[in-house]
Amino acid sequence: MKADKLYLRLLAGAALTCLVSGVAYAEGGPAAEKPQTVKSPDVTSQRLDNADKEMAEGNWITHHGDLQGHRFSPLDQINKDTVKNLHVAWTMALGGIEGGGIWTHGGLEGTPLAENGYLYVTDGWGSVYKIDARGGKGTLIWKMDPKTDHDWAGAVACCGVDNRGAALYKDLVISHTLDGRLIATDKETGQVKWQRQVANPDKGEVVTGAPLIVKNMAITGVAGGEYGIRGWIAATDLDTQKEVWRTYTIPSKGEPGIETWKGNVNAEVAGGGATWVTGTFEPSTNTIYWGVGNPGPDWDNAFRPGDNLYTDSTLALDADTGKIKWHFQQTPNDPYDFDSVSENVIVDVDGKKLVLHANRNGIGYAMNRADGKFEWAVPFVKQLTWTKGINPQTGKPVEYDPKKDVQGYNIAPHRGQPFADFCPGNMGGKNWPPTAYNPDLKLWYIPVIESCNRVTIAPEKAIPAKSREFFTGGGPSQPVRITGSLTAIDATTGKVAGKYETRFPDLGGVLATKDLVFSSEPNGEVYALDAKTLQKLWSFNTGGGVNAPPITFEVDGKQYVAILVGMGGAWDKWFIDATPELKTMQPGSMLYVFGL
């Protein structure tokens, strides 16, 4: 009953009409008779700062579990000895499967949240579901449907009808919609308190990431790097609903960094640099770490000579002003679509304060948190051909020449040779699915797409005359099969510590516990590995394509693992030829909860 203890501790002294267990439960399921709900305490910034400690009490109150991005839970009822008994405890069918724009169906990519026995999950169109997980079954308490404009948003969503989860703040559930809104919903009643248009699909902007709550602000990242947008990260004051700051990832004229966009390429209109994966936050230094995506056009890098800051970079931002404290660019003048959007995981190793970042370019980076100084890099994919390696002093690819306006690296398509095969392919060695970090073992687990693919350049002459049009400078194709792995990196040495190879790419992400690692394959399998040896100890096939991360939580003194199942995203439209067996996977929308 750890969650109950926490609840009592947090509410001690508060005047509340609360109540309580001993409720007679009906059978679970969305239409079941509702159990009496228990009001949850406000999620304060103090609680969020200590989200890692709440995980020990059974909660998961922020997107990555904690603000550091560890996705590590100390709950240990499910461990390497007991995991063999893990089985489906209950499931719930969700919605959001309908299509819109260029998409035939939605999918599930969200990370569930868990607080005091309640789960909060989202579907691809941004509906939020509050589910009572007490009593060993799931009962839908409410569903908030934001009535997302499907065609407006779906026509400019490059890579699926996606929503990666909600956030909790005070007595609100904060969520995004694909059509660019930030919505605050009353946690108890499900009624919408307010909504704000934060991104503009008329410009090709959509929002797929979960909000990150920092103090009293919701931090929003934007997607649209294939549609000629100018990327940004925005902070909204959740008490006043006003924008606090908006930091553009492409400098405007006169700002530092604009010199890295040579020629008249209208970078401040269509330079790309989307920010579509939720970042991390370090309260002690008041710093937000957030990744920036590819430059536009994606592949025709001769269109945009120069390094193209701050695309393909890790940014450290002052949380109060959004001012950029430092940046580190992994792939200057990118010809591959190697976004640096992945989360930057805050770790302390051997007295060093680092962020770890698994880039789409197949390389894991460690950077110093204070100044962005490069520490080490390690390839986490089996095949890496685009560069011969990383310069150990600079952290740049060895072929990078700052005097050259257009980089070719080891191999890249270019206007003289318009197609090239390179590894990892353009979906990356790792895409948005999150890594996990075990702070006891100092092991960092990366969900890997073991891939190569072909990109053919179609030179761009100018930015699109109208917004909402693809601005990619070419496109990929899939001449070779793609597989996957879960790869462990030793954060003390920066070396690969192990690799569990999979038939299909890891499109879901990772959860770490003390002695286990959970992840999935898009053929429906959810599995658990030994955290040290990466030996498979358990698996279950859900029967639906998995491309969402697992979490763990505790309620009624019992630990569970939860994961959303419903193939969506970019894979089954753009990359399916590289995994032909997945053509049989049908769209779906389910929540699975496993228990001992």
């Binding site: 998409w103 035939t104 409410w142 569903k143 908030m144 934001p146 404009d149 026509a155 049009e469 601005f471």
Partner: protein, 186 residues
């Protein structure tokens, strides 16, 4: 004189017919509307929009560059052939079930059967198959509503999506919109 009257009458009749024809072409008949709706529905169901976009303009993208149906030179038979067979080595899928079966009596697509579709001749199979009459209907839709058109217009956009979405806003910049009203079930 008589001749003149007759000539005038004939001229008037001809003019009336021209005017009528213009009126007919400007105002689609119910049959034409129904045909367009059918073609549009198939165009959407088969996810032609996924690469060629709703307006048929195509362009670059994650699936590779799709050709412009607005600028296409293909005639009806060639469009039917392309939809039926796909394009070997390109992203265009084949939409007729079993058209490359090895044991079929005929091989109507370039003389190829499944065994020929390796390497650079690979043909993607569509996610949704169409019947031959549906392929003909979508070809007629492309010919009547997409091929030869210039830049997409507000009217075309509204014909495709209706007026319940903001998807056509970029063709009508001054329109102001409210955010959708969320609903809650509990």
């Amino acid at each position: 004189m008589r001749i003149s009257v007759l000539t005038s009458a004939a001229a008037a009749a001809a003019l009336a017919m021209v005017a009528l024809a213009a009126l007919v072409s400007a105002t689609p008949t119910r049959a034409e509307e129904s045909e367009a709706a059918l073609g549009r529905a198939i165009y959407a169901k088969a996810n032609c929009v996924g690469c060629h976009k709703w307006h048929g303009g195509g362009g670059g993208g994650y699936g590779g560059a799709a050709l412009s149906l607005r600028k296409t030179q293909l005639d009806r038979d060639q469009i039917i052939m392309t939809v039926t067979c796909g394009r070997p080595g390109a992203g265009m899928p084949s939409f007729l079930r079993g058209v490359y079966d090895d044991d079929a009596k005929e091989h109507p697509c370039y003389g190829f059967s499944q065994k020929d579709l390796t390497g650079d001749n690979h043909v993607v199979e569509a996610g949704v198959f169409l019947r031959p009459n549906e392929i003909a209907a979508v070809a007629d839709y492309v010919l009547a509503h997409i091929k030869g058109r210039g830049d997409p217009t507000l009217e075309e956009c509204l014909a495709f999506f209706g007026d319940k979405s903001r998807v056509c806003d970029i063709y009508e910049p001054k329109q102001s919109h409210k955010m959708p009203t969320p609903t809650t079930v509990n």
